[in-house]
């Protein structure tokens, strides 16, 4: 059972998109995230650094042949925070439904 916990860091629209992509991946390539979320290299680097500093993401830099390759993934802590954030969003929606429904 996931305990709902709203996470302001994740909820920013850009980071929410990045974390959602990473949530379905073991590893995601930097260029794939950049193109999918439609960010510049520097903007994505900044967002990934923010997630990394929070302990939510891990960044791996390597080479394929002579070509540099950067990948990212969610850490265990990041995945847990994301699941809690999703649970918090669901709770907001469910609660609103409960208040909208006529009582009795």
């Amino acid at each position: 059972m996931t305990v709902p916990r709203f996470d302001e860091l994740i909820h920013s629209p850009t980071r929410l998109a990045i974390v959602s992509l990473l949530a379905a991946s073991e590893w995601a390539d930097f260029s794939y995230i950049r193109d999918t979320v439609e960010l510049s290299d520097s903007a994505l680097s900044k967002q990934l650094t923010t997630l990394e500093q929070a302990g939510y993401a891990e960044i791996r830099k390597g080479f394929i042949g002579k070509r540099p390759r950067t990948s990212a993934r969610l850490t265990v802590q990041g995945r847990a925070a994301f699941e809690q954030h999703v649970a918090a969003l669901q709770q907001i929606v469910v609660r609103s439904g409960a208040t909208i429904l006529p009582s009795g």
């Binding site: 709203f6 959602s20 949530a23 379905a24 073991e26 590893w27 390539d29 969003l89 907001i92 929606v93």
Partner: protein, 160 residues
């Protein structure tokens, strides 16, 4: 902060989350052409077997191996270059679906080939592989739709 998020905004965020995860899942979907290519390569290999000729074997085996490596390499490489699916998206149902599909293709093709051979039908391996290849071409996309549905159901935040 969560108090400031309206239900409509939360619902929109949940929709966005689902769509983003779906993008990664769709990336890993094996294209339809792959199943037909593998089916055709099975037939090529079987023709080599049925001809009982070293030259035919020498020609068809490399075509099969290179074709399989190229087609599979393309599919795997595409996922590797973009994003590797989270293992947790697949579960026992997905493994069972893959095993049943493999059993139908491999068991069905081999069983049919031996049956045709026992019945004295000519070119049993080729005929059985044509049948197996057709099942592969038609059934592969069906398997992928099943796996996709399972993975979508296992997304974070998906309705269970």
């Amino acid at each position: 902060m969560s108090d400031e998020v309206s239900p409509a905004e939360a619902a929109q965020a949940l929709t966005d989350i689902q769509l983003r995860q779906q993008q990664v899942i769709d990336l890993a979907t094996i294209p339809v052409w792959y199943w037909w290519a593998v089916g055709a390569l099975m037939v090529v290999l079987a023709v080599g077997v049925d001809l009982h000729s070293p030259v035919a074997i020498g020609l068809t085996v490399p075509v099969f191996v290179v074709g399989m490596l190229a087609a599979t390499g393309w599919v795997v490489g595409r996922a590797f270059r973009h994003a590797q699916l989270r293992n947790g998206l697949m579960d026992g149902r997905a493994v069972a679906a893959i095993l049943v599909f493999d059993a139908i293709i491999v068991g069905g093709t081999i069983g049919l080939a031996f049956g045709l051979r026992a019945a004295g039908v000519g070119h049993p391996a080729t005929l059985a592989s044509v049948a197996g290849g057709l099942v592969m071409g038609v059934g592969g996309p069906v398997l992928m739709r099943r796996l996709r549905a399972i993975m979508l159901g296992n997304r974070t935040g998906a309705a269970r």
